[in-house]
């Protein structure tokens, strides 16, 4: 489940083994978040589909199992900080925050609309739970590193999580931050890369090859974990395992399936930047049917999860 990085295994292999009941709860929660995402995108008429669906399991694990946080006190000083560097996948963040109780789920329908708190890309200061403004790629890791450094200066124990895309590893600013965090041994920083292999113009390895990305991080002084980004136990174990690494920042390369949960969107870069219902895509349902088909599939899955565990 956790593919090790060539470094001592014992550090990361104290699996907490989620109970079947807990796992089912998380699966149902993630499925609900995926349905929220489809509905939000349809209501908005624009926005990204594949990335948010692909990261629903990671967000669910973080907000319902990993993070120290209090949705009723979003400014609580003891909270962990989460920086979303690839701001364009914010529909999954918004849906997760709403489901976690930061604001009403009904507000999700205002995504990208006039005077909404759910801006097209996340903006700090309007919506509870949003720590940084983001959207232009490549600058989130630096901000997370700055937070980690400043918190360490003050002897504070808050953990900093930074979520990045693989595509934004094309950006120089990202690598400036990788150098910086490695140099400063920011052990209170955990980065999760959404390794879904797609970006707007195509496959990441065609656009600008990133591999061997694990070796690159290791060369820069990081501890690297690789996981299946749809396996809750793996996500949670990796985040817990990262806390045991004392002298290095940790990057978790989470292999995800873009569009996960909606069959016709999975692994298709054409769904990176489009919402359901906006265009006919050869081989996929007609645009009028896309949201309906997607939601039906997700609802069926929900039924399946319930019955499987019963």
């Amino acid at each position: 489940m956790i593919m090790d990085s060539g470094l001592p295994k014992e550090i990361i292999l104290f699996n907490m083994s989620l109970s079947a009941q807990e796992n089912k709860k998380l699966e149902l929660q993630a499925d609900t978040i995926r349905q929220d995402i489809i509905k939000m995108l349809v209501a908005a008429g624009s926005g990204h589909s594949a990335g948010p669906l692909g990261m629903a399991d990671v967000f669910t694990a973080l907000y319902f199992k990993v993070l120290e946080h209090d949705p009723k006190k979003p400014d609580w000083e003891g909270r962990d900080r989460l920086v979303l560097s690839n701001g364009h996948i914010c529909p999954v963040w918004y849906a997760t925050l709403a489901e976690a109780g930061y604001f009403p789920v009904t507000e999700l329908n205002t995504l990208r609309k006039f005077e909404t708190r759910l801006q097209g890309h996340p903006h700090r200061g309007t919506l509870p739970g949003i720590e940084t403004t983001s959207g232009p790629l490549g600058s989130g890791l630096s901000q997370a590193a700055g937070m980690a450094l400043a918190l360490r200066m003050d002897g504070k124990k808050n953990w900093v999580y930074c979520l990045t895309s693989d595509g934004e590893h094309d950006a120089g600013n990202t690598w400036e931050a990788v150098l910086f965090a490695g140099k400063n041994k920011l052990a209170n920083l955990t980065v999760i890369i959404d390794r879904n292999n797609i970006q707007i113009d195509g496959n990441t390895e065609d656009i600008m090859p990133l591999e061997p990305i694990k070796d690159k991080y290791e060369a820069f002084g990081w501890y690297v974990l690789e996981i299946d980004g749809h396996n809750f136990e793996a996500i949670i174990d990796a985040c817990n395992g990262a806390k045991a690494i004392q002298n290095k920042p940790v990057v978790i390369i989470a292999h995800t399936i873009p569009g996960k949960g909606v069959d016709f969107m999975e692994n298709d870069f054409r769904w990176h930047g489009s919402p359901p219902g906006s265009q006919d895509i050869p081989g996929d349902p007609a645009k009028e049917e896309q949201a309906k088909v997607a939601l039906k599939e997700l609802r069926t899955l929900q039924g399946k999860i319930r019955s499987e565990h019963e």
Binding site: R124, T132, T133, S142, G146, M147, N173, E176, F180
Partner: protein, 331 residues
Amino acid sequence: MSRAAHLNPKVFDGDVEQVPSRNGYGEGLVIAGEENKDVVALCADLTESTRTQAFKDKFPERFVEMGVAEQNLVTVASGMAAVGKIPFTTSYAMFSPGRSWEQIRTTICYNDQPVKIIGSHAGISVGPDGATHQALEDMAITRVLPNMVVICPADAIEAKKATIAMAKNGKPTYMRLSREKVPVITTEESPFEIGKAEIVWESEKPKVAIIACGQMVYRALQAAKRLKEHNIGVRVINCHTIKPIDRDMILKSAEYCGAIVTVEEHQVNGGLGSAVAEVISQGFPVPLKIIGIEDHFGESGEPDELLKKFGLTVEDIIKGVTQVLRMKGNI
């Protein structure tokens, strides 16, 4: 001369003390650091020349070396500000805010974090390094950003005061500094408040207001003295804050003097002159001459040679004054 300005009594002497404004920044940063433990300094491999060294020596645990990485410089600072620090970031103006502009816009200004962007070596007077290192656009690109405060101090003492003041203003703030030694025209007693322009020369019946910033304030004073010899009265304003610009002072001066000349070591497009034009054209239109770099890049040379070539001498200011006097029909 306005008594309230408390200018250096030696300002018109040949041997007036000359100090680079970056020195004042270095002194001010140490004081700001003493006053508030949350003040931290980040520098992109230019610690000595930006005068961040004094802070580093005094507070090594609050100094962060960034290497040659200006985008990381400002974004790490944004993250530090997000958890309560007051970060001062230093590089040359051409690199930050030059190279780091989008990160400043998104992660500092739109994000509204109190990060201080210190751009040293601004202006044509950088000299021999040449055009690549002469930031002539920095005030334009920072002035246009919502939430941003933009300061261009007249000398080292003012740079020190500005540094101490911006540590307390709670806003994203850009300050441009010069490499070259420039005459010290203010004193410790001179008033300084962010957003408030100061009258530093007042003739009995001023016919033109000369509004300047940075080292051009000194040259504007020289011009005022020469014009006095020709019985032409002017008012000279040290407009150290480019944003928020002192609208009240500018509009009152437009009305009182009836013509304005602006002087800056910056492109005429988008800097101090543009800011003044925006105010008077919509509030009290009067003849205006904007003196600055006329849509050119700089080049290598000694500061004085370059200031002459690009039209920023005392004679150029006098010429500008006669131009607006002609425009308003006084000549």
